[in-house]
């Protein structure tokens, strides 16, 4: 009998592509012969927009890339500019940033968990994880005033000081979360259906993962120990004690286990940070670059002048280029900023982990079953806002 491969377009409105990803598939019966992700449906030109804005004004743009990781994006961009300008931020700022970045990791991972399990047919997970996410969004709202697009971490510090009962609220999350994680594990880890659909599915070898420059849980799922927080500590991560969970088989199930273990490690880091939170200012004092506190602006002439100058003209960065990477929930998120000495960046380039990890999709699914494509896309953990920017 003559057989023909069939060409299938999966997406861009497919519910399991987590946004507007389109995958062109050639299938031979149930086997995928060729897969090609097609992106660009959510392209918003964020990098280019950032180039046309003053340095401090680009922060709201970063929120909108990986919208499950707003604080992490703010952090990466702010660290890059701080590196460019040579600003040293107070310890308190570093600690707060670490807490928020780790809460953001929790936020991103539980949404991943809920949607991935939903893709594989476990509907209730989504409802449980979104309930927990609420408590994290409440912290965002209390700090910054917005639940998703926080713009809270600024160049040289934070937008405001943390709210008064910040530690109480964060501790409540710390107390509640381990139980919730146990619930998730009870639902999924030994679940026969979940195991059948993820174990040995979407496998990638360590060598191939390195060649494709994968990062984050995708890479650690194959047992490669690389985490930017340990490899090149930033924002005071060297002061915290935590482990990097590693997988063995590089399949979707290992990535699930790693993300769960990472959530536990995040809780550990947050606990250390909240217990050892130093006192101090919430912004570095760098006249002409970092906005002075509002009370000074209202009462002191020099602060007022600097306030006007920074807001209308921004600040001039020295010529040169910086690259600053952070470990976002998806992998290595890097900001490469080149400056020509003016008050706007000459070029901004984001190294988006989701985009680069998505490049592994063909090797994950080719030669495998059609029904595993959904699991593979889910286990990469893509956010199309970041893939397309």
């Amino acid at each position: 009998m003559a057989t023909e491969t069939m060409h299938i377009n999966m997406g861009p409105q497919h519910p399991s592509t987590h946004g507007v990803l389109r995958v062109e598939l050639d299938v031979d019966g149930e086997t995928v012969v060729r897969a090609r992700p097609v992106i660009g449906y959510l392209h918003t030109g964020i990098e280019k927009t950032m180039e046309s804005k003053l340095y401090y004004k680009a922060i709201p743009c970063t929120d909108r890339m990986d919208y499950l990781n707003p604080m992490g994006n703010n952090l990466g961009y702010s660290l890059a500019i701080e590196k460019l300008m040579g600003i040293e931020v107070p310890d308190r700022v570093k600690w707060v940033r670490v807490i928020l970045a780790e809460l953001t990791r929790l936020n991103s991972h539980i949404v991943w968990l809920g949607t991935h399990a939903l893709d594989l047919g476990a509907m209730s997970m989504l409802l449980y994880t979104f309930r927990e996410r609420e408590s994290i969004l409440d912290v965002y709202e209390a700090c910054s005033g917005q639940r998703m697009m926080s713009s809270y971490i600024r160049i040289g510090g934070l937008a405001h000081d943390i709210p008064r009962d910040f530690d109480k609220v964060v501790k409540r999350i710390l107390d509640e979360f381990p139980d919730k994680l146990q619930d998730y594990e009870a639902l999924l880890t030994d679940n026969e259906i979940f195991i059948n659909r993820t174990k040995g599915v979407a496998v990638i070898s360590a060598e191939e993962a390195i060649n494709l420059s994968l990062t984050g849980p995708m890479l650690r799922g194959c047992g490669v120990n690389y985490d930017v927080r340990k490899a090149e500590p930033y924002s005071g991560y060297e002061n915290f004690d935590f482990d990097i969970p590693l997988g063995k088989n590089g399949d979707a199930y290992d990535r699930y286990l790693i993300r769960l273990a990472e959530m536990r490690q995040s809780l550990r880091i947050v606990r250390q940070a909240i217990d050892g939170m130093p006192e101090g200012p919430y912004r570095a004092r760098v006249p002409g670059v970092v906005l002075p506190p509002k009370e000074d602006v209202l009462h002191k002439m020099e602060s007022m002048i600097f306030h006007f100058k920074i807001i209308t003209e921004g600040f001039k960065a020295p010529q040169g280029a910086v690259y600053q990477a952070i470990e976002s929930p998806k992998g290595e998120l890097g900001f490469y900023i080149s400056s020509d000495g003016s008050n706007k960046p000459n070029r901004v380039r984001v190294r988006p982990p989701a985009f680069i990890n998505l490049g592994s999709l063909p090797s994950l699914v080719e030669g495998r079953l059609f029904s595993d494509v959904v699991c593979a896309i889910g286990s990469i953990d893509i956010i199309l806002g970041e893939v397309d920017r």
Binding site: P60, Y128, E141, A142, S144, G145, Q146, S151, H160, D190
Partner: protein
């Protein structure tokens, strides 16, 4: 044999474990709100619809300095100045295009006169695009905040002196 063992494990261990979680939730209070009737309390820092403050004597705080428009990353503030009877500068036109606004709060941070704030309002839908260009009249508070001293003080403490006040 292996298959049988796994099936037994499933029936007597992993399935009851998962079902126990589901069952436990039967007795929990729902966490959802009946939205239009019940609303979630907003944090004091919530960034919603803008409003323009007045001084205690009722005059407008905004002096049309343009700093908020300079700080706005979305370029959605437009203003034109004029002088009032006493020769003081104020805004003749002050408009914010709420469709462009991203509610980042930069205008509030930039304002040196403590004139513009982002309030708690978030339900402002309408039928046409033009009605989203909010004018000064729409945003000015109707009276100085004397009538509500508590709110005023809280806001002043928090915004002006950078003292964190919020609670969840």
């Amino acid at each position: 044999m292996n298959v049988v063992l796994r099936a037994i494990g499933n029936v007597f261990w992993s399935m009851p474990k998962g079902l126990a979680v589901t069952f436990k939730h039967l007795f929990k209070k729902p966490v959802t709100l009946d939205y239009p009737h019940q609303k979630k309390p907003m944090s004091p820092r919530y960034r919603g619809l803008h409003y323009l403050e007045r001084y205690d004597d009722g005059s407008e705080r905004c002096v049309c300095c343009g700093l908020c428009a300079a700080a706005c990353p979305a370029d959605c503030i437009y203003m034109e100045p004029e002088e009032n009877e006493k020769g003081e500068r104020r805004a003749r036109i002050y408009e914010i295009n709420m469709l462009r606004c991203i509610f980042c709060g930069y205008c509030e941070e930039a304002c040196p006169e403590e004139a513009i704030f982002l309030g708690r309002e978030y339900e402002f839908s309408d039928y046409d695009r033009d009605s989203f260009i909010y004018t000064k009249v729409q945003m000015l508070v109707t009276s100085p905040r004397k009538d509500n001293p508590f709110k005023w003080i809280i806001r002043k403490v928090r915004r002006v002196y950078g003292v964190p006040e919020p609670s969840l």
